[in-house]
Amino acid sequence: MEQEVGWEPKLLGFLCRWCSYAGADLAGISRKKYPANIKIIKVPCSGRVDPLFIIKALRLGFDGVLVSGCYPGDCHYQTGNYCARRRMAITKKFLEYMGIESQRIQASWVSASEGGKLAEVVTEVTKELREIGPNQLFADGK
């Protein structure tokens, strides 16, 4: 696979506003460093993330997608993250079966107080994405 010089993975994060997004904020405030590779979309709940968003992000050229929500039991809406967990499990397995590298679809639980964990997750995921290289899945070439 050809790799552009200076290529950096692009990661799209769907972060729950009640926890992970606040976690990202906290990481910022407390100056915990995490890679600038992540673009964040704030969602009301990890349960809001339709698998469509994930594959569309890959179609648009993101190298990986991270969905991050509240720990089980902590959902602001009681059950949103449970539903998200089922959906993510299915989506991840199914898209892997279609041939999408498992590293490209990621999930995490990060609470509002875990700025450090979010930074860690983003760092790890970015590292994994760097290893598998750029997303060429939807490239046109014949």
Partner: protein
């Protein structure tokens, strides 16, 4: 011969239902206009019930009409179709009370594409096809040849676990048991799974570059009941209406995820695809994933919550950081 008896019983039953006004419509099968073809019969008329048939070619999953036909319906179902109905009930798409389900134990249907491949002849060039237990007898040019049923049944019939309807008001005929040749039915998927991810992706890319976006797979699917499909959404436009392979693939991937836990592996999507895309290799795998992760089988319990709205407090999450 068994079919003939079932057919007689079915015609009588359907006629009575209409006569006694217990249903407004009967949905069943009648002989089609081509050889070895049946076609859905949707009727209000008692007289039409004499046209109802039961044979190894009753391929359509008639439950797809239930969200469309108004009033009380008497419907003919096979094992897989009955599960589609249960699934529709689970999703509150139809009411059980509005249905009279006439179940037909189904020993598997004959896949004419397989027959054609096997004999190198098209269906209209064959004289006769009959099912005789675990054999299928085909007459061509006046000559009879025997094939093991497992060679000519649909792949999804070969892996069918519940050939007898799960939900019915009347069962016409004796319960049957899986004809099963799981290995043959799963061959394609196994091959795919042995490939490297990139190879698999190439395979699907190749399949979906044939897709012409006729939406037959979606429209024939009883689990695809959305009023407005996400592909028709224009703001935002998730998928380009142009049949580029990327968008075709995205459409089908999401369609499969949307019907996870509803898909009963009835195989209709693959059967109807005019471009011969191996769609069941997706739906079946999803069926397996759902079973493996959540011990869930679509359309088995009409009182259960739909798969993706239910949860257990502890569940698979080894993939979550």
């Amino acid at each position: 011969m068994e079919n003939k008896k079932i057919e007689q019983k079915l015609r009588q039953e359907a006629k009575t239902l209409l006569q006694q006004r217990r249903v407004d419509y009967i949905i069943g099968y009648e002989m089609g206009s081509l050889k070895f073809t049946t076609t859905p019969l949707i009727t209000k008329s008692e007289n039409d019930t004499d046209r109802l048939v039961v044979n190894p070619f009753i391929v359509n999953n008639l439950s797809v009409y239930l969200t469309e036909v108004k009033g009380k319906v008497g419907i003919v179902v096979k094992g897989c179709d009955s599960r589609s109905i249960v699934s529709l009930i689970q999703d509150n798409k139809i009411a059980r009370e509005a249905l009279v389900i006439m179940g037909i134990p189904c020993p598997g249907l004959i896949d004419l594409k397989k027959v054609e491949l096997l004999l190198g002849k098209d269906r209209d060039e064959l004289d006769n096809i009959t099912r005789d237990g675990d054999k299928v007898v085909i007459m061509v040019d006046g000559k009879e040849s025997n094939f093991p049923a497992t060679e000519v049944l649909f792949d999804n019939c070969l892996v069918c676990e519940f050939p007898t309807p799960q939900e019915y008001d009347v069962l016409l005929g004796e319960p049957t048991f899986p004809v099963g040749d799981i290995t043959a039915g799963q061959a394609k998927i196994r091959q795919l799974k042995e490939m490297a991810p990139q190879q698999r992706w190439e395979f699907w890319k190749n399949e979906f570059s044939r897709c012409i976006r006729c939406y037959a797979c979606r429209n024939v699917c009883p689990a695809c009941f959305c009023q407005k499909c996400f592909v028709e959404e224009s703001e935002p436009q998730w998928v380009l209406p142009t049949p580029k392979w990327q968008d075709n693939l995205l459409f089908q991937a999401i369609r499969n995820i949307h019907v996870a836990g509803r898909c009963t592996d009835c195989g209709e999507c693959e059967r109807v695809c005019p471009m011969n895309i191996s769609l069941r290799s997706l739906t079946r795998e999803m069926y397996e994933i759902v079973g493996e992760l959540f011990q869930y089988k679509a359309g088995m319990d009409k009182n259960a919550l739909p798969l993706l709205t239910a949860y257990e407090s502890t569940e698979v999450e080894d993939f979550i950081r």
